[in-house]
Assembly symmetry: C2
Homo-oligomer: 420 residues x 2
């Protein structure tokens, strides 16, 4: 697959899908053909989503993740003008540059920190520095970090059965699974994550959680919880990595049961308020206020970078230890690479998945949070670099962006190491 | 009507309806009988709404009213412990106190400023200092202020026909109305605001705007705009005051057409960001992102008090002239009191309604923004006092709270004047 200058030749280009020039949702009312609605799914079409991903709260109910009342932890600026020309070779052997990759991946915004300084910050289309954008499955890494922090402080036993915390799941695929198996996604559950397949379970999950429109006659589950209790076992637990969003939703349920507070408040108290964020974040919620732990977090880009920087700095940021260093080390060390290999990610050879983070096991070792359509936190400890990216790629799977993104990230890290 | 210690004997008391002790929406998931949903209308029942009014964004899509990036304009504290015992006599001749009135009106939070200092701040139930609460029709006073500011700066002609700005309304009740008639609600339109009547038009308006649940089969208007263009004339324009929320929605439409930006951004740029607010506010929005200009604003209580203080200080606050002094004077001077009298508000004799503010024409002269279920900004220029109140009264109309609220406000002002 080619994801270079025109990653998906069947789709119009980055520039041609600029939501500002296309005029989505401009005017009172917007013209009919430029109006996006949640109820008919038009907000999620391409290129319409280039507007929607920066305006999710206007389409759905949401819960606030408070930044608290503390001072902002400023990110020092050391902007550089040499980065757009940094060359790299795509995984399919084409010559490209950092600047070209911005467009190739339908990027909505990109922040690069080097040694904690902003060296690159760029927005496109509907996204602005003060707007929150959907992080999609980057959310999972927050939930996994929460769980790992609970394991570290002893309030959560990773070796305990899931049903110790959520007995409602006893008759489901999770009835004989451990918390650790959920945290590392080695769960055997009948559930398909194939976004391109309209009949895939991910869509039923999304409809249950109010993340996608429902048909006018809808008899399915009304909430995330109602959906999770329908999941049946398929295959074995603990023998292989299989990426399934429902695992993150189950983990969020466990985390809330342990913490005794809802996810939005936990993320605020444990992470967001400690980072010195500039803005509140939010979680999309279902019809009973349950945060979408599999993909509902929305943040500004600089605040997302703050979290990445904390993870780069062994959990320490803004003058305090926010995530225990042992938790970060556990993520960096990764999980069983043989288990990961069974999933067959061609662009991620030798990787693993730990605490809902993707771990490269390269020499640095880089680790990353990833969401569909191009959302990412990329942490390169050796290059002392953090990348936060929001995008609205026409295709869901990161496999379509990896051939450009991964070598671009690595090239930028090496460039910064040489001259930074 | 009596609204004293037990204003509505058929309803359980303030204390007995504390949403925290009732446990609404606590747990993962909450117990079925303690779960509130937008779709079935349970969030709006009493006493459920005592939780919901502080959690609207978790039930509905919303648009952010940014506080901007400026510093907070701190409200100096001069807390007093003598206010709860301030006595007053209700309009129906019972002895009461300021502290008793807090409970009598099912108050969720109350802030009193005297000479710009916080002398009283109290929260109850679900509301906290950092949570936004529905302001309901207090929203209208923001929209009216925006319109009056546009008239002042010349961008809006109050004497122009509504259709000059919104030609889509030509075949409606507004087809031969002026902007001024809309601003002062002297519009003859077939539309009933009687909340207690399930067939009243206010409910159809709310369903069209996504503010209330729709039946499973719903063939009505999908948006505020779609609803407004259905309104037919009844009676005459300009001859009497009739309080109808659709007028505010029409005025919001005009204001947006003039400003060229949506209401959330206008309120942010013209008011919220200048006040030095502590928190973002929000507007509830309909299915195409249109802010509910008739009742969709949600703010924290202290930030609402900041706006009240700016209005008390002739529009000047936080070191700048936010609302032109002439606009505040125009509001304070009020409108035609004979026009107002035709509406028959027993608790508001001699009042008028100007630029979507309620004007007392008393010696001070007090003016106020009012929303159903007890939302209020009360400005007493002579007592140098501003009251911001959020509540969740079992009944909608302020007529049920006025017999307690109005004399309580006046008594507090006089008390502060004597010893403040």
């Amino acid at each position: 697959m080619s994801t270079l200058s025109s990653p998906s030749p069947e789709f119009p280009s980055h520039t041609d899908t600029d939501p500002r020039s296309l005029g989505w949702m401009q005017g009172f009312p917007p013209p009919a053909e430029r109006t996006l609605r949640f109820a008919d799914g038009s907000h999620y079409e391409f290129p319409q989503r280039r507007w929607s991903f920066s305006h999710m709260r206007e389409l759905l109910p949401t819960a606030r993740v408070s930044r608290g009342d503390g001072p902002v932890c400023a990110l020092p600026r050391a902007d550089r003008d040499d980065l757009d020309t940094v060359p790299f070779t795509t995984l399919d052997s084409r010559a490209s540059t950092w600047g070209e990759a911005f467009a190739a991946n339908y990027t909505d915004g990109l922040v690069v920190l080097h040694r904690g300084n902003i060296v690159y910050e760029k927005y496109f289309g509907a996204l602005q520095a003060d707007l929150v954008h959907s992080a999609f499955s980057v959310t999972k890494s927050f939930v996994g970090t929460h769980a790992a922090m609970q394991v570290y402080d002893g309030s959560l036993d990773a070796n305990a059965p899931v049903t110790h915390y959520v007995p409602e799941l006893s008759d489901t695929a999770y009835g004989n699974a451990t918390v650790r198996q959920v945290m590392d996604m080695t769960i055997g559950v009948r559930y398909s994550e194939a976004y391109a397949d309209p009949s895939a379970d991910i869509h039923a999950y999304a409809r249950a959680g109010g993340m996608r429109a429902r048909p006018s006659v809808y008899l399915g589950p009304q909430t995330f919880y109602d959906y999770l209790v329908t999941l049946k076992k398929e295959g074995e637990h603990g023998t292989g990595f299989t990426y399934k969003t429902v695992n993150s939703e189950v983990l969020a349920w466990i985390v809330k049961r342990v913490a005794g507070v809802r996810l939005a408040d936990l993320t605020s108290s444990e992470i967001w308020s400690k980072l010195g964020c500039e803005y509140d974040a939010l979680y999309q919620v279902d019809s009973v206020g349950t945060e979408a732990g599999g993909g509902g977090l929305n943040t500004t880009l600089r605040d997302l970078a703050r979290f990445g920087e904390a993870m780069r700095c062994d959990g320490s940021f803004n003058g305090q230890q926010i995530v225990p260093a042992a938790v970060v080390a556990d993520i960096r060390n990764g999980a069983n690479r043989d288990h990961f290999a069974t999933a067959g990610y061609a662009t991620l050879p030798g990787w693993s998945y730990r605490n809902m983070w993707w771990v490269s096991h390269d020499a640095h070792p880089c680790f990353t949070a990833r969401g569909i359509h191009g959302q990412a936190i990329w942490v390169d400890p050796v290059a002392e670099m953090v990348i936060a990216r929001y995008a609205s790629h026409p295709l869901a799977a990161n496999a379509f962006m990896d051939p450009t993104s991964l070598p671009a990230y690595r090239a930028l890290g090496e460039h910064l190491m040489r001259g930074g």
